[in-house]
Amino acid sequence: MPLPKRKTSKCRRDKRRTHDALRAPNLVPCPNCAEKILPHRMCPHCGYYKGRAIKEVEERKT
């Protein structure tokens, strides 16, 4: 079985990880309730999209 000849150095390991960073989702304010939401989707807080109620959102216990 082929095996690695050398331990991967910290430098090499970290260089590999330079592209692993996560990016924050692009959130926009809901035009109906001003909550931060994902664009092009129904607002999960108020159930509105493009000025009309799509789905009723039940009150959640906090």
Binding site: R41, M42, P44, I54, E59, T62
Partner: protein
């Protein structure tokens, strides 16, 4: 290779996929608005538009073709008698998809797919029924409003 092949496989065999889309399109034409995953909704458009085109054609042959796909004669009758005249002047684009966000449980992106121009039809058909619904909705809303201020105070 799937180079330049259109359509999604949706991790199903051909027969499984076909059976699923027959169910989905029957439900969509029957209920006019259904919630499913984004990928299924996008693929369903293709099938639904084809069925409505069959309905608009209105020939006995088109009817038999629709019957061979849609499950149940009731939905086919609705397609030919109710939906076909509704979309007579619309050159395609009978469906609308609205993304709903990730599903609880498996995080699958969900979407609502509906037949367009349904709101007008509803208003024409049953204004007294709507009034009834509004009163019941108002009753539910008043119950909600009682809860809402409490929530705001917490914030």
């Amino acid at each position: 290779m799937r180079h330049r092949k259109i359509g999604r496989r949706l991790s199903r065999t051909w027969s499984h996929r076909k059976a699923m889309f027959r169910n989905l399109v029957t439900s969509l034409l029957d209920r006019e608005q259904i919630i499913t995953t984004e990928a299924k909704a996008k693929e369903l458009r293709r099938v639904a538009e084809r069925m409505i085109t069959l309905g608009k054609r209105g020939t006995p042959h088109a009817r038999r073709q629709a019957l061979s796909y849609i499950r149940g004669t009731r939905v086919v009758s609705k397609l030919f008698e109710e939906l076909a005249p509704r979309y007579r002047d619309r050159p395609g684009g009978y469906t609308r998809i609205i993304k709903l966000g990730p599903r609880r449980g498996d995080n699958a992106p969900e979407a609502m797919i509906e037949l367009v121009a349904r709101e007008k039809e509803k208003a024409k058909k049953a204004p007294p029924e709507k009034a009834k619904k509004k009163t019941s909705a108002a009753a539910a809303a008043s119950g909600k409003k009682a809860k809402a201020p409490a929530k705001k105070q917490k914030k």
